[in-house]
C-alpha cells in the first residue's frame, strides 16, 4: 500500500510545470514589469505616483494577510504601517546623527535597508497589540482593532518626542552608506528602492501563504473549530499571522519613510486604515493579486482623480458599495470572470451580455456623475458651472436634468432587462 502511495505523491499535487506557470511566472512577470518601467522614461509626476503605488501595494498585501487569508477584519491596520514607519524615520535620524557624529552601528546602516527596521517595528507593535486582540475573531476582533486605532491615533498627537506632534518627524535619506550605487537623492533612484521592496513585499506575503502557518491561517478562517481538533490553537494561529501582517505593514511604512522623508500622526489614523481596507476589498480579497490591483487603482484615483474632481471620494465610496454588492470578488474576480468567460464555449454569448451590461453601467454613470458634479459646483457657490465638453450644465437648466435622468433611467432599464434575460435562460 505504501508503495502505491509513494508513487502517487507526484500525481497528487500540481506538476512541476503547473507550479512554474502558476507560482513562479507571475513573480517573474512582476519583476520584469518593475524593471522595465524606467525604460519608458516616466516623468517625475509618474515616478512619484509609482512610488506611492509601491508603498500601497505592500501595505494592501499585508492587510490581506488578515482580511483575505485569516478572515480577520481590522479597522486599524495603519497603526502598524505608522509605527513601522516611525521606527524607520527615527532610524533614518539615527543614521544621519551617527554619520556626522561618532559613527557606531547606525553609521554603517544603509538607508536602503530601513524597511527592515520598519518590519521589525510593525511586527513588534503587532506582537504587543495582537496579544489581547487576537483572543477573539469576528466582530470583537474588529471592534478591538477600531479601539486600538483610536487609541494610537490619539497617542500620536500626545507624545511629541516620539511622533513629533502635528508636524511629524522628518528625516534625510541621503545619509549613511550607499548601496547598489544609489544615493537615493533623485526620485528615479528612489524608484529602484521602492521597486526592490515592493517585490520583496509581494514575494514575502506570497511565500507566507505557502508555509504551514499560512495554510493553517486559511483553515482557521474557514473552520476554527475543526482546527482545534487537528492539534492547532486558533488563537495562536491568528496571533502569529497578526504579527507577520504587522511586520509587512511596517515594511510598507519603512518604504514610505524613505520615499516621503517624513511621518506625521495622520499616518496612524483611521483614514489610512479605511483606505487600505478599500484597496484590498476593491481589488479582491479572495485573490492573492487582488490587493495589488486595488492599491494601483486607488493610489491612481487618490492622486490623479483629485485633480479632476473634488468629489472623487464620493466616487470611491460608490465604487466600494458597488463592488460589495455586485462583485464581491473585486477587480480580480471580475478579471478572472472575464478571462474564463471568454475561453468558455459560449464566449460570444458572454461577450454580448457584458457589452449590454457595460452599456447600462456607462449610461448610469453619466447620470450619476452629472448629478454629483452639478451639485458640487452649485454648492461651492463660486458661480462656476459644470461644463463637460463645452456644454454648460447649470443646476437649474432643463438640459442638465435631462442629462441626469434620461441616461440613468435608460441604464437601469438596460441592466434590469439583461438580468431578466439571463434568468429567463436559466
Amino acid at each position: 500500500m505504501s508503495n502505491v502511495a509513494t508513487n502517487s505523491v507526484n500525481v497528487l499535487g500540481p506538476t512541476g510545470s503547473e507550479k512554474f506557470m502558476r507560482r513562479i511566472m507571475p513573480l517573474i512577470a512582476l519583476a520584469v514589469v518593475l524593471a522595465v518601467i524606467p525604460v519608458f522614461g516616466p516623468s517625475r509626476t509618474v515616478y512619484s505616483l509609482l512610488n506611492a503605488m509601491g508603498v500601497n501595494i505592500v501595505f494592501a498585501m499585508s492587510y490581506n494577510m488578515l482580511l483575505g487569508r485569516a478572515g480577520l477584519l481590522s479597522f486599524g491596520h495603519a497603526v502598524y504601517f505608522g509605527l513601522g514607519g516611525y521606527a524607520a524615520v527615527h532610524a533614518m535620524g539615527a543614521i544621519e546623527a551617527a554619520s556626522y557624529g561618532d559613527g557606531g552601528f547606525w553609521a554603517s546602516y544603509p538607508v536602503f535597508f530601513l524597511p527592515v527596521v520598519g518590519f521589525a517595528g510593525g511586527a513588534l507593535a503587532g506582537a504587543v497589540i495582537g496579544w489581547p486582540s487576537c483572543r477573539r475573531a469576528g466582530t470583537p476582533f474588529a471592534m478591538i482593532s477600531l479601539g486600538v486605532a483610536e487609541l494610537i491615533a490619539a497617542a500620536g498627537f500626545m507624545f511629541g518626542s516620539i511622533f513629533g506632534g502635528e508636524e511629524g518627524v522628518s528625516g534625510d535619506r541621503m545619509n549613511g552608506p550607499e548601496l547598489f550605487g544609489l544615493s537615493l537623492g533623485p526620485i528615479e533612484e528612489v524608484y529602484w528602492f521602492i521597486a526592490f521592496w515592493t517585490f520583496i513585499g509581494v514575494l514575502g506575503t506570497y511565500a507566507f501563504t505557502r508555509t504551514p502557518l499560512g495554510k493553517m491561517s486559511e483553515a482557521t478562517r474557514d473552520n476554527p473549530e475543526r482546527v482545534e481538533f487537528v492539534g492547532y490553537d486558533p488563537q495562536k494561529v491568528r496571533y502569529l499571522v497578526f504579527i507577520f501582517s504587522g511586520g509587512f505593514a511596517g515594511l510598507a511604512g519603512g518604504m514610505a519613510a524613505v520615499n516621503y522623508e517624513i511621518f506625521t500622526p495622520e499616518a496612524l489614523s483611521l483614514a489610512p486604515s479605511g483606505m487600505v481596507l478599500l484597496m484590498a476589498y476593491i481589488g479582491g480579497i479572495r485573490y492573492f493579486a487582488g490587493p495589488i490591483l486595488g492599491a494601483i487603482l486607488l493610489t491612481y484615483m487618490q492622486s490623479m482623480m483629485s485633480d479632476y474632481s473634488e468629489a472623487w471620494l464620493l466616487y470611491l465610496g460608490l465604487l466600494f458599495i458597488v463592488i460589495v454588492m455586485f462583485a464581491p470578488g473585486g477587480l480580480a474576480g471580475i478579471f478572472v470572470g472575464l478571462f474564463s468567460g471568454l475561453r468558455g464555449e459560449d464566449a460570444g454569448e458572454n461577450f454580448r451580455r457584458w457589452a449590454v451590461q457595460v452599456a447600462g453601467i456607462v449610461l448610469m454613470m453619466i447620470g450619476i456623475i452629472t448629478l454629483v458634479e452639478v451639485s458640487v459646483h452649485w454648492s461651492n457657490n463660486y458661480g462656476e458651472v459644470f461644463h463637460p465638453f463645452g456644454v454648460q450644465l447649470p443646476h437649474d437648466g432643463v438640459l442638465t436634468w435631462a442629462v441626469i435622468f434620461i441616461p440613468f433611467v435608460a441604464g437601469v432599464g438596460i441592466l434590469r432587462m439583461a438580468h431578466k434575460n439571463k434568468e429567463g435562460q436559466a
Binding site: M1, S2, V4, A5, T6, S8, V9, L12, G13, K19, A207, F208, R210, T211, P212, L213, G214, K215, M216, E218, A219, D222, N223, E225, R226, V227, E228, F229, V230, G231, Y232, D233, K236, V237, L240, F244
Partner: protein
Amino acid sequence: MSIPALSINDLHKSFGPAHIIRGVTLDIEPGERHAIIGPNGAGKSTLFNLISGGYHPSKGSIKLRGEEIGGMKPFKINRKGLSRSFQVSNIFSNMTVRENVRCGVLYSMGYGYGFLRNVGNLHDVQRKTAEILESVDLLDKANLPAALLPYADQRTLEIAITIAGGADVIMLDEPTAGMSHSETERAVALIKQATEGKTLLIVEHDMGVVFNLADRISVLVYGEIIATGKPTEIRGNEKVREAYLGDEADAIEGDAA
C-alpha cells in the same frame, strides 16, 4: 491489566439547572472498539464533547492512558493522541480534499506553526497525506474542492481528517448518519480498516453498524450508563429493552447477525 486507553470516572456535566451527564463511569481498553448507544437526548454528544475537550466537566475525571484530560483545550487533547470526527460534516470546504487531509497531518509531523518551510516541499507530509487518502479510497478525488464532494465522500473525508494525525484513540460521532445502505456498508469496512489496532469510541444510531463494529457497547440513558457489555449481553439486557421502545427495541433484538 494494562492502563485503560480511556478511563472516565463519575463524570458529571450540568448546563445551569439541566443535569445532562449524571455520573458516567467507563473504562475502554487499548485496541477496543466501543460503541455508545442510547435514545435521543441521552447525552451522547455531550459526553463526546466532554472527552474531546469541547466542554468542561462539572465533576469527575477523564483520563487518557492514565493522564487527566478533563477540561483541557481540544488542541492539547488532540496532541496527546485523541482525535474525533463530527456528526455534521466539519471539513475545510474551501480547500481541496488533499489540503483537508494535509491540515490533519501537519501538526503531528512536527511542522506546527512553522513559517520557514514551503508545504509543497514537505515530502514526508505529502507521502503521509497520500497514504491516508489511499487508505480511505479518496485518492482519485484528491484535487477536488471538498465542498463539491458528494455527501458520503464528505463523511469519508471527515474520517480521513480524524485519523490523519495518527491519534491512537479515535472518536467517531455518528459516522454513517444520512448514508444509504450500500454507503453504510462501505463506511463500516473503511472504519474497521482505518482504525485497525487503535482504540475506537463511536456514537451511532444504526444498530446494524453498532453490532457489526463494536467489541463492547455502553447504553447511555438520561446521562447514565445503564449497561455495558458485549453485543450479545446488551441484546439480552432487560433494562436496555425498557429504555428503547417499539421499533428500536426490535431492531436490537432482530439484528442478530
